[in-house]
Symmetry: C2
Subunit: 388 residues, 2 copies
Amino acid sequence: MENFYWHNPTALIFGKDTVKELAERLKADGIKGVLLVFGGKGTFKSGAYAQATDMLNSAGITFSEISDIKANPLIDKVREGVARVKAGGIDAIMPVGGGSVFDSAKAIAAGSCYSGDVWDFFEGKAKITKALPIYGVLTVSASSSEVNNIAVVSNPKSEHKTSITSPVLYPKVSVIDPTFQFTLPEKQTVYGGVDIIAHVLERVLDGDEGDELMDEQGYALIRTMMRVIPELIENPKDYDLRAEYALAGAMGHCGFFSMGRKARGDFSSHRMGHSISVLFGAAHGATLSVIMPAWARYLYEDNPVPFARLGEAVFDIYEGSDEEKALEAIEALEDFFRDINTPTTLRELGVKEEDIERLAENASRGQTFGVLSRLEPEDVLEIFKLAY
Amino acid sequence: MENFYWHNPTALIFGKDTVKELAERLKADGIKGVLLVFGGKGTFKSGAYAQATDMLNSAGITFSEISDIKANPLIDKVREGVARVKAGGIDAIMPVGGGSVFDSAKAIAAGSCYSGDVWDFFEGKAKITKALPIYGVLTVSASSSEVNNIAVVSNPKSEHKTSITSPVLYPKVSVIDPTFQFTLPEKQTVYGGVDIIAHVLERVLDGDEGDELMDEQGYALIRTMMRVIPELIENPKDYDLRAEYALAGAMGHCGFFSMGRKARGDFSSHRMGHSISVLFGAAHGATLSVIMPAWARYLYEDNPVPFARLGEAVFDIYEGSDEEKALEAIEALEDFFRDINTPTTLRELGVKEEDIERLAENASRGQTFGVLSRLEPEDVLEIFKLAY
């Protein structure tokens, strides 16, 4: 097990009818004006917008709004938010939405305390040292953005979807009321679920040794998600299922499963998935169900052990050599993805054969990446071909 | 799943050779003098004392010492520490030890900011509102005291071992260097391991519904501990095993497995165990391996489901009715305890038949307690009889 540092200061208010609990907290922290950041009609349909604004009004806190944040959120919206904050009267950011909204809020929170262009942070041209406090209301679980210090934003001009992290980007308080997710479209429940599973898979499959404790924790979460997603498709308004999904969603990418890992995990699939999203606007979770199995098939012969362990722990595969168990586990994962109706091929995402090279170049950007296996640009191209 | 609030602000520095990392942190926080709190020769043997004092000297931080903290720590030592702080020159508490040392440090930290007698907090006569910051170095894993806000202290005068909790009692920073545990006596590794298992068992066996996600996380930790303890008996200086044990020890009682539970868990066994410790000075972990199976045997017929689920998830017991699986699981748990050579009867702890009534009265103190099943004083007496 590797040395690690853990400090996750986010306070989590979890459960039914909990948005109103933010009022006391905001008042105690002396917040007078907030920038409300949200997406579109889902925020209204879930009831989250009404509850958040009622809470703010009851607390006597003024608010300004940035709406229309899309999935795979754009840097221009972040810039708009930063400009709004710089115009004055705002001392905290309040995302009401899912990962894209929280990510945008974090970027706005940091950009508001910086004199240059906020994209500088994403290009590594400037370091984040300060950010406005974030008080969030989650309406879509998947990213763990509500309890982590990561923000992923896309820049269509440079065709780049990339991330920033900083200790100052943890939300101060996040409210997770699972009932807001009762009204999610089925697709979003499925894609979010794939994202949650991927966050954990990308850690337990890193090939690192001495992490059995956290691997076991991870397998347990994956088994839970594989039980919960199909049940939620049948019963989208089952509170306990939504609550399990939301709590698993918070855990998956909050850093917990990275404890003791050499490189905190192997996020190659996320990186390749991002390039499909930025070039084709594909849903993030759908890119992962396409890429993860292809990545696994490309690598497993040289690295059978982590896939074989996954097979034992998640799919009850105990017969055969590690190579055989590994292949069976990858097939079982694909079967699961097909069962919950999420794409497993690039074709289903509307990608054409002639686009593959461009996708691979966008993902690699001339660099080598990966932990379980380092991926040269030509490896990445092969993985995209397998995914096609 | 029940609503819950989660906020664990402790920063964790985990790994080999990490004590020195505290120096920068203390200096950055403006700490000039600390009260070093520790036990006895184990602190020297492990190397933790030397590393902590070297670190303080290198940082130019003065320190005063309170030593001889025993297992089941005593309120008088806490009072001594409070008096030392009130004499001046100390602005932080630094426990170097295990749970007893951390618990004493927390009580000192709170007592130092209070004008009355620190035992008032334990009797509910005063509320903790402020405490000095705690920077700790862990040398014995078991209690999670390094990452939680609980302190358990004994008062021999009133024959009472009881606890305080407060949001201000979380250590600010805790260092867990698993190598300090290489030199632990085997018994301590075993008893600490039992305590870690008990912290999780007392949660997954609470009978609450809708917590399958966290139950699965808990079963995974219990399986890990059941693998790690026997291996550590054979290889006490295996780093990865010590690290898994130490990380599991931090997780077990940090609040994580309480998320979403009706009463955060059912700590009846801990409560009954405390009365054996305070009256007979028995090691805390040993009291738990005696009481938990007796508690389980007394209850399982009326509440077979949680024990049956435990049987499936931890002991691969899939045949028979829930009652049958439950009994088999309890027997398997006792077998495990016997295999690792921890007591399973009160007799082994030196308790005599005529002491049983006094033990039961001390545990009940005229109150009813328990979550899976409420225990009247006569139930508690029966459980102690079963444990005999």
